[in-house]
């Protein structure tokens, strides 16, 4: 016990003496939490529109005004030339071209039918779909108004109407930060757990000080615990910093109990620390350790459901996510923070992460024995 205490003291002293690591520990969560959620906003808000109006009638004017007033579109130009419009698209100034034919009003009134055309820059698929559906929506609305004007639309519904009432639970204002911030906390903790631990141990290897420890009577488990405990504590500190920042900056207060978050994070940290420890047993240099953990981290984050939901992935990719501890943590974090899930709701997740923890640590210890 005394040996362990001395080792811990050594580790803590090392960590707190190294300004680079300290900076990493405090700047990383702050920057990531401050910038990432601001940047990571997928919502399609500004669709740049160019209108080619061949008609110049009062209807086409009304229509364009209605689109402008909707707030979804910003009108870049109002022109008569298709060429000019295409030039805008070429230069990424315009996302959507709306063409109103020259007998728009006449056809609409006399022939009961007219066609407008939309040309959409579809390089960004999501934006193209959403932009066109916004416009369709406005068109349908405008269409209804015109019909009201020309036909005595019966006051009583002649046809069945199904009303749809959408309700957005747990985040009624559809605040995107509520979604991103808990996920980013997970990424932070994972990075600290695996990357910092791996780098720390490999550095001792590279510099040669690990040899010195290996020849002392320090037991293997003492050495491992001495390495893992400080980072376990650091991880929990970062979590606390992160939670504080998300409360101060984004006003996110976990609906669930804080203890639920800490219990899960503590378990999860044991798993990623084991992973970092394992990486350190295979990497010979810090460069390797960095690259290995970077590679894994990339897989974990991309396949963790942070940006795109796991359910929409193809089946083979979903199977991969079962073996991704990060995906469980992201899910739990969102459940507890936003829905107020309790320990019993997430017991399955805890169980899985415990398996990860045991597995990674066993493999790491086994691998470590072979080299010492």
């Amino acid at each position: 016990m005394r040996v362990l205490r001395i080792l811990l003291e050594k580790e803590f002293r090392q960590i707190f003496r190294d300004p680079a690591i300290l900076r990493m520990i405090f700047i990383m969560p702050t920057i990531q939490l401050l910038i990432f959620p601001l940047a990571a906003d997928y919502e399609v808000k500004h669709v740049n529109l160019c209108v080619i109006d061949y008609d110049h009638s009062s209807y086409s004017n009304q229509f364009v005004n209605k689109i402008k007033a909707s707030g979804y579109f910003s009108l870049v130009d109002y022109t008569d030339s298709h060429e000019i419009a295409m030039d805008y698209v070429e230069n990424d100034k315009v996302d959507l071209i709306l063409q109103i034919p020259n007998s728009f009003e006449k056809q609409l009134v006399r022939e009961d039918k007219t066609t407008i055309s939309l040309e959409i820059n579809a390089i960004n698929g999501a934006k193209a779909i959403i932009g066109s559906s916004y416009l369709n929506y406005i068109t349908a609305d405008f269409n209804d108004e015109i019909r009201q004007e020309w036909n005595l639309w019966p006051r009583f519904n002649p046809m069945p109407i199904i009303q749809i009432e959408p309700l957005y639970w747990y985040n009624p204002l559809l605040n995107y930060y509520f979604f991103m911030v808990p996920g980013i906390l997970v990424i932070l903790i994972t990075m600290v757990g695996s990357l910092l631990t791996a780098l720390n141990i490999v550095k001792e290897k590279e510099v040669g000080t690990i040899e010195q420890i290996n020849v002392t009577p320090v037991k293997k488990y003492q050495f491992i615990l001495g390495k893992l405990i400080p980072f376990w504590i650091l991880g929990l500190i970062i979590l606390s910093i992160g939670l504080t920042i998300s409360w101060l900056v984004y006003g996110i207060v976990p609906l669930g109990h804080l203890s639920t978050i800490y219990i899960f994070s503590a378990t999860f940290l044991i798993a990623v620390l084991g992973l970092g420890f394992f990486l350190s047993t295979i990497a010979k240099t810090q460069q390797q350790a960095m690259l290995f953990s970077f590679f894994l981290m990339m897989l974990f984050i991309l396949l963790g459901g942070l940006y795109t939901s796991i359910e929409s992935m193809p089946y083979w990719a979903q199977i991969i996510t079962w073996f991704n501890p990060v995906s469980y943590f992201i899910e739990v974090m969102r459940m507890v923070v936003l829905k107020g899930s309790s320990l019993s709701d997430i017991k399955f997740h805890i169980f899985i992460v415990l398996i990860f923890a045991v597995f990674f640590n066993l493999v790491a210890i086994w691998n470590y024995k072979k080299r010492s």
Binding site: I35, S133, R147, I162, Y170, S312
Partner: protein, 368 residues
């Protein structure tokens, strides 16, 4: 010159002998392309939903059957009553719940109006809105069928044409992004770490006191990574053309020259980092925070720049990847020629010149 070649050879052996690292370096673009190309989609499908059917009549059963038959939804849970909605969401089982009112069919036929509730788990706002939209579309379709084929007066029809990317593939966006990410990793991170390592281990001192021109040693270190980068760019382009079927519409030579230009820019960045950083961990830290994250966040490849607050938009102009991303995307997908992207190219050239001069200058100062 002969000395220089020797050094290049030495560095090559270093990189070549480290099989693990080389493997990961070469496998990285492959995995990224596969993941981005096939696993990540913004499209929502097979979402688990729960159903609470309060009426259980013919119309409601039919509508539910229609929803569960769509590829967007997967009915995983039948909710017995209102009290069970919240717990089902809390267990994370479902993303949306469809609540059918009691007497659905009757109210639909007699009062011609019925109200369906769609409850979405908006902790993921994007998915929530998408699911609601999809479900509403199915319900509206169903309603249209009920109305049969009545002709409406004064109809505005819409013709939609998707330019450049008619199949709405996501690949068009990320291929240039993956190139930028890989180049950042290889040319800045790996290079700076390998230079700083020499500092950390003290071998740099040996080189500095030897008669070799030190900058040459540094260049020799960059060359293997430069070559691995070129291999990776080739892999990425081949994969994107043959596996993802993303065409290269523009001039290939222009495309490759732009890639080389960007590679040199990031190599210079790597050199600069290696001059500033005292230890490998600091080099890693600077490249992660200063280069890698901005590439992911501010280059426009994952998140739209126009949505960002103005401050971030301004900062994004300083990120070389942003310009590179823009150039490559336009050349590959729109087939733009140099006259369309000369501005961005000029900016990149400017950045490269500044970075190269600054890092060479700084390097000399350190020697004195």
């Amino acid at each position: 010159m002969k000395q220089f070649l020797f050094f290049i050879k030495k560095e090559f052996t270093h990189v070549w002998r480290d099989g693990h690292t080389l493997f990961i370096l070469l496998a990285m673009p492959l995995t990224q392309i596969l993941i981005f190309g096939f696993a990540l989609t913004n499209e929502v499908k097979n979402s688990s939903i729960g159903i609470l059917d309060n009426s259980k009549d013919k119309a409601s059963v039919e509508l539910i059957a229609r929803i569960s038959a769509s590829r967007y939804f997967d009915v995983v849970s039948i909710i017995p009553d209102n009290a069970h909605i919240d717990p089902t969401f809390k267990k994370g089982k479902i993303k949306m719940a469809l609540i059918m009112p009691s007497d659905f069919e009757e109210s639909l036929l007699h009062s011609n109006s019925a109200k369906i509730q769609l409850i979405a788990d908006a902790s993921d706002p994007n998915t929530a809105t998408t699911l609601i939209n999809y479900a509403s579309a199915i319900i509206r379709d169903y309603q249209k069928e009920l109305m049969a084929n009545q002709d409406f007066p004064n109809t505005i029809k819409t013709e939609i044409k998707m330019l450049y990317n008619p199949q709405l593939k996501g690949s068009y966006n990320f291929v240039p992004g993956v190139i930028a990410m890989i180049l950042m990793l290889l040319c800045s991170m790996m290079t700076s770490i390998s230079i700083v390592k020499e500092k950390e281990l003290g071998t740099m001192e040996v080189i500095l006191v030897s008669p070799i021109v030190p900058l040459r040693v540094i260049f020799a270190k960059m060359i293997p990574y430069f070559i691995v980068s070129m291999i990776n760019i080739t892999t990425i382009l081949l994969l994107s053309v043959f596996v993802l079927e993303v065409p290269i519409k523009g001039n290939l030579i222009l495309l490759i020259s732009e890639c080389i230009l960007f590679t040199i820019t990031v190599l210079a960045l790597g050199l600069l980092i290696s001059i500033v950083a005292k230890s490998q961990q600091i080099a890693i830290f600077i490249s992660l925070m200063g280069l890698f994250l901005p590439t992911i966040m501010l280059s426009g490849f994952m998140f739209p720049i126009e949505n960002m607050p103005i401050g971030l938009q301004l900062i994004s102009n300083l990120v070389p990847s942003k310009w590179f991303y823009h150039i490559i995307k336009n050349i590959m997908i729109k087939g733009s020629s140099l006259q369309h992207v000369w501005k961005e190219t000029a900016i990149l050239v400017g950045m490269m010149l500044v970075l190269v001069t600054v890092s060479i200058k700084k390097f000399k100062i350190r020697m004195e």
